[in-house]
Amino acid sequence: MSKFPNVIAGAAVSLALGLPAFAGEYGLGRPALPEEIAAWDIDVSPDGTGLPAGSGDVFTGEEVFAEKCAVCHGDFAEGVDNWPKLAGGQGTLDREDPLKTVGSYWPYLSTTWDYVNRSMPFGAAQTLEADEVYAIVAYILYSNDLVDDEFVLSNETFTDVELPNAEGFFVDDRLESEAHFWKAEPCMSDCKDTVEITMRARVLDVTPEETATTDVAVEQAAATPVAAEPIVEEPAEEPVVAEVALDPELVAKGAKVFKKCKACHKVGEGAKNGTGPILNGIFGATAGVVEGFRYSKPMLAAGEDGLVWNDETLAAFLAKPRKFMKGTKMSFAGLRKERDIEAVVAYLRSFDN
């Protein structure tokens, strides 16, 4: 964020007068308008420059975090699966496999605020209000035992917080500490007496199997037959329904809307369960039956009670997931526009075959 608003004002004035404002020799481009700069120049520096006015407390932060962050980062910022852990790890930096979190590693709080504000939640970046960002950051501090539960983070209190590892970094010193890698004459012969193999990759066996991409797709399709089951059960009906209903434009629109879902749900060839289950063949399927996915208890119970995903049930679930099913793991807030819901459902149906 620029500390020199007068420069911006100057540009606006010259634009208003219709004068060329170019400093350069080519006269290309046009002056950036103050509103444009304000929209894009949102970076926050360690001294707090760039922070908007606002505040949020730990309690609010816990609620917002549970709703928008916990699906990947866990209720206590402890991280789900391979997703980043945001809390803990203090005192581990000099051990094997250090745990690097906001509390244990990140030097500046501004980095957390800036990143949450511009890039989170994953798949819905730049949808948070400033107060929500303050609240989330306050909760992350709390999760790291750095503030108590009464704490309120605001643009006023921001620079009072110093992260534990603020002094833990030093500027690249390779020219000194690794000066011995600049060698006049590297050894060419009799460089060592013996050579022993001390470690082998094959022992670990963590290298991906080297098959062609088509093979992989086939294997994955074979490994996930559950999604196709409902179609097998109702062979007479399914193809007919699929043929009449799908409007290609609606499907295309649905593909766009589905970007909101993509962080957790995969669909299509080679799709696998992620934070959410794969959605191939979900239309017409019984709730909670995708193999290998750990559903919430309410979702499993609903499936056992006969809940089938069709136009009505999907629409209701996607509009307000937690209202439709109390206790679902899906932390998505819901799609507000009916048209978006229709489009997503059409898009999902296109993966029925």
Binding site: V7, L28, P46, D173, R174, S189, C191, K192, R202, T207
Partner: protein, 430 residues
């Protein structure tokens, strides 16, 4: 993809099985001796379909992909590395390429919020901060500035990162494939900054530019103004054609010699500032944790490094003993490659390899060592030297300074254990 291509899905296993069958014959012939055919080769004596019928017309493939027989030469992902394929990385199949230029279609990808689709018409580049006039450029504006063409490597700081604590991944693609080398066409960043005017920046010495992309991650990085004015490019073409979506179409930053994370894709804003932003990607990531728990930051230059690409675990020797081409790649973020040494005995003795062409500044250099392989085991290594006088260190030498937790900037000498049957394995040696 046609049905025909689907039928042909070569796995390495299948390939090896075939190779073993022919390999026996070749090995029996021995070094320096031409093979004697027992029976006439039907590929020569019989008229083949392709020599009689017709091939595809010129309109069959408006934009071509490699022929079906090469479909195993593709980028690959290591699933366990990341939580998800959207914020993840894949690897260039360097074991199967030659020369130095990486085709865009198999050049590694690293995204933090996925590869976005951004039309040229929707593209805007803003320059603001400590400049005389904050400016907005359209894509068409950028094409009207004087252009440069330069070949540079782009290496992810995490390339070989999985190998810090020990030999892990069995293949040059996986150990060293977070790299590509392309010819970029674009405008120097200096030209654009001067167009906005730098009088407002005052003394350049303590100034920075903050660069960010248009994707959800924005992947912001701070770069000293001196580097920005030196050799940084705002590129819109690579290897002669538009950048691929996954490499930042329509415009990316090229920061020669410096870690790939700074090469911001879908570049949308450049802000001249009086200090670094200390963004996520330059604090919590891309910093090198030392043994004592302290961390190096601003380790931008990629030190000299090399790897033998063939033979290697994914590219075993299939022809038996006799003439063998050992080849690989070398590069340095501090200048040009001046020489590469190859060892077949795990570093006891070294032989200077032949460079495919003289090394150029911050670009890949291909090296070759042609030997007459006697069929015995080899511990194959390569060692790069650059124009700054730097010599690529061993793993032990690097660990002595940095410990085991650095993750990033591992430029240690790689060892392949090539066995008598031609198979190779990633190992560490004393």
């Amino acid at each position: 993809m046609s049905d025909k291509a689907d039928d042909f899905a070569p796995s390495r296993r299948r390939f090896l099985a075939g190779a073993a069958a022919t390999g026996v014959g070749a090995a029996a012939v021995g070094a320096g001796q031409a093979a004697q055919a027992a029976t006439p080769d039907p590929l020569i004596t019989e008229v083949q379909d392709w020599a009689s019928g017709l091939g595809d017309g010129v309109d069959a493939t408006p934009y071509g992909l490699p022929i079906q027989f090469e479909q195993d030469v593709v980028r690959r992902n290591v699933e366990w590395l990341t939580a998800d394929t959207i914020s993840s990385i894949n690897f260039t199949p360097i074991h199967a390429l030659d020369g130095t230029i990486t085709p865009q279609g198999c050049a590694f990808e690293r995204h933090h919020s996925g590869a976005i689709e951004l039309r040229k018409e929707d593209y805007r580049l803003m320059i603001n901060g400590l400049v005389d006039t904050p400016l907005v450029f359209s894509y068409a504006d950028l094409e009207r500035f004087p252009r440069e063409n330069r070949v540079y490597f782009c290496e992810c700081a995490a390339n070989s990162g999985m190998e810090w604590a020990g030999a892990q991944l069995n293949g040059a693609q996986f150990t060293h494939g977070m790299i590509h080398n392309m010819e970029y066409s674009g405008v120097s960043l200096r030209t654009l900054l001067e167009e906005a005017g730098l009088a407002a920046a005052g003394d350049f010495k303590d100034k920075w530019v903050y660069v960010e992309g248009a994707d959800a991650s924005s992947n912001g990085r701070s770069i000293p103004l001196e580097k920005a004015l030196d050799d940084v490019l705002v590129a819109f073409k690579a290897n002669g054609e538009a950048l691929r979506k996954e490499h930042g179409y329509p415009v990316r930053l090229v920061v020669p010699g410096w870690e790939g994370n700074m090469w911001v894709k879908w570049l949308r804003r450049i802000e001249v500032m009086d200090g670094p932003v200390e963004s996520r990607e330059e604090t919590s990531k891309y910093t090198d944790t030392m043994e004592d728990g302290s961390a190096r930051k601003w380790t931008w230059e990629m030190d000299a490094k090399s790897v033998v690409t063939s033979p290697s675990p994914q590219a075993p020797i299939t022809h038996g003993k006799g003439p063998l081409v050992i080849t690989g790649l070398a590069w340095s973020g501090r200048g040009a490659i001046t020489g590469v040494d190859v060892s077949i005995d795990g570093g006891k003795t070294w032989t200077q390899a032949r460079l495919g062409a003289p090394g150029t500044d911050k670009a890949l250099t291909r090296f070759y060592l042609e030997i007459n392989w006697d069929g015995s085991e080899m511990l194959l290594q390569s060692r790069a030297r650059d124009s700054s006088g730097y010599v690529q260190p061993t793993k032990a030498e690097l660990r002595e300074v940095r410990g085991l937790n650095s993750i990033y900037h591992n430029n240690a000498i790689q060892t392949w254990w090539v066995k008598a049957d031609g198979e190779a394995e990633n190992v560490e040696v004393s």
